[in-house]
């Protein structure tokens, strides 16, 4: 048997692929913005918040970091309805990504906060800054600057991990690939094309995040 490669389907299925890319981008945009925000809030709770809140956050972070994303997704989409919580597949996928990235960025941001010398807090207080202002200007921004590269890699990892949301029929890039190969039976060609698209997306996303880092923390760029 000779297998002949055939990419002639590309034109016909281009809209499906483009739609899939769009959904993947939407998922990671929402996931990154809300996930990092959640992570910052959680890092504050663990490092400086009340003890009971820090405890709850610790359990959340450990649970998420020690179970596969796929299972979290199944639990949210198939499991929660039996508790009466019905979520559409895109909402479920978005929530799963925010919750997942939230847990990871909490740990990353916390590491950055812990590296802030104690004296900085006192310096902030002596400048008559409120505790919130101290946290924002003295602790958080330098911490974010320090851990921005680690946070960026985590965002890329979560973007690539989002490939599994196709399992609950969210129509992302992997869904598009699966959909196309179930119609044309050209599995290899379809997966090669989608793999290359993911690679391009990962490279672009990394550049974009580097640019965001430069704009957010201009000091770092001039250093």
């Amino acid at each position: 048997m000779t297998y002949v490669f055939d990419f002639s389907w590309l034109g016909e299925y281009m809209p499906v692929l483009l739609k899939g890319i769009g959904i993947t981008l939407q998922l990671i945009a929402v996931g990154a913005v809300l996930g990092i925000s959640l992570g910052i809030a959680c890092a504050w709770a663990r490092a400086l918040g009340p003890k009971w809140l820090g405890g709850i956050v610790a359990v959340y972070v450990e649970l998420i970091r020690n179970t596969p994303f796929l299972i979290q997704l199944f639990f949210i989409f198939f499991g929660l309805p039996s508790l009466g919580l019905q979520l559409g597949e895109l909402t479920a996928a978005n929530i799963a990504m925010v919750v997942n990235l939230g847990a990871y960025s909490c740990e990353i941001v916390r590491a950055g906060i812990q590296a802030t010398p104690r004296g900085q807090f006192e310096a902030g207080a002596s400048l008559a800054m409120s505790p919130f202002e101290t946290f924002w200007h003295v602790v958080l921004v330098p911490a974010l600057q320090r851990i921005w590269p680690a946070l960026s890699s985590q965002v890329v990892i979560v973007m690539l991990g989002s490939a599994v949301v196709s399992q609950i029929a969210a129509e992302d890039l992997t869904f598009a690939a699966n959909f196309i190969q179930s119609r044309n039976f050209r599995a290899f060609e379809t997966y090669i094309v989608s793999t290359l698209i993911y690679l391009a997306l990962a490279i672009l996303l990394r550049q974009l995040l580097r640019g965001v880092g430069w704009t957010l923390f201009p000091k770092r760029a001039t250093r």
């Binding site: 048997m1 002949v4 989409f77 029929a169 039976f185």
Partner: protein
């Protein structure tokens, strides 16, 4: 190191092989290979009752599994069952991991370009199923409804063709996903086989998939690689004989609780 190189080479070659031909294992004749090997490798479903599902011991059972065993017996070889999903069953065949796909496979023109099909071996009626309180009378009634279906299954192809534009079709990876989505209320309606719905009903689910209407009669075929005339002829011959001597009807009675339709 060779592994790394090889897979990178494979990737690179794949990426640039548009229009080029790669060579797969050169098997002169699949039927001769099967006889020489002494085993027939068959792709069967594990999430598609009553055609194929798992028991408490996690071993496959069902209509497709019985047909696989019947063919193995007639060929005088042992049968190796390979559980697959509707998404990966064709790649299994194309990469020679299995000799036959007996996995409630439907036939269409696009698929016939890629693999060959035997004569029909099982009846299959696609229908729209929903709980009693959902009002759907015909295909137009799907308008505005969320419909769950297994991606790439016969009913997916059919539904995509006939459903109204504003029906929201959700395509799940495999039948596990489709059934779970229906039972957990993620979709109002499922499109699936009548026998599949019957198998779910028999297990007393929290949500009952009652038949609303049938979409199409689309029997199942055995899939095999192209250019294997000897194997195709042999499989067709075994199916014809099994239809004639009633052994296929016995399988239908056992799993579908009905006689085979005479026009199959």
């Amino acid at each position: 190191m060779t592994l790394v190189r090889r897979s990178l080479l494979a990737l690179a070659a794949c990426a640039f092989a548009a229009g080029l031909a790669g060579t797969a294992p050169a098997s002169a004749d699949a039927l001769a290979d099967i006889t020489a090997r002494g085993t027939l490798r068959v792709a069967v479903p594990q999430d598609f009752p009553p055609f194929g599902s798992v028991g408490i011991d996690m071993a496959p059972q069902g209509y497709d599994i019985d047909v696989a065993n019947l063919i193995g017996e007639k060929l005088g070889v042992a049968v190796e069952l390979v559980p697959v999903t509707s998404a990966n069953r064709i790649p299994y065949l194309q990469t020679n991991k299995v000799d036959l796909v007996i996995s409630s496979l439907g036939k269409n023109a696009e698929r016939e370009l890629v693999i060959d099909f035997s004569t029909a071996y099982a009846p299959f009626f696609n229908g729209i199923f929903a709980p009693d309180d959902v009002e759907v009378a015909d295909i137009a009634g799907l308008s505005g409804k969320t419909v769950g279906v297994t991606r790439g299954a016969v009913e997916d192809l059919e539904l995509t063709k006939v459903a109204p534009a504003d029906a929201d079709i959700k395509r799940y990876e495999d039948n596990n996903g489709t059934i779970s989505a229906f039972l957990s209320g993620q979709v109002d309606v499922v499109a699936t086989g009548n026998v599949v719905a019957a198998a779910i009903l028999a297990r007393n689910p929290p949500k009952r998939p009652e038949l609303k209407f049938l979409i199409k009669n689309s029997p199942c075929y055995i899939g095999l690689n192209k250019n294997e005339p000897a194997l195709l002829a042999k499989v067709d011959e075994i199916i014809a004989a099994a239809k004639a001597d009633g052994s296929l009807n016995a399988i239908a009675q056992k799993w579908l609780a009905a006689d085979l339709p005479t026009d199959l």
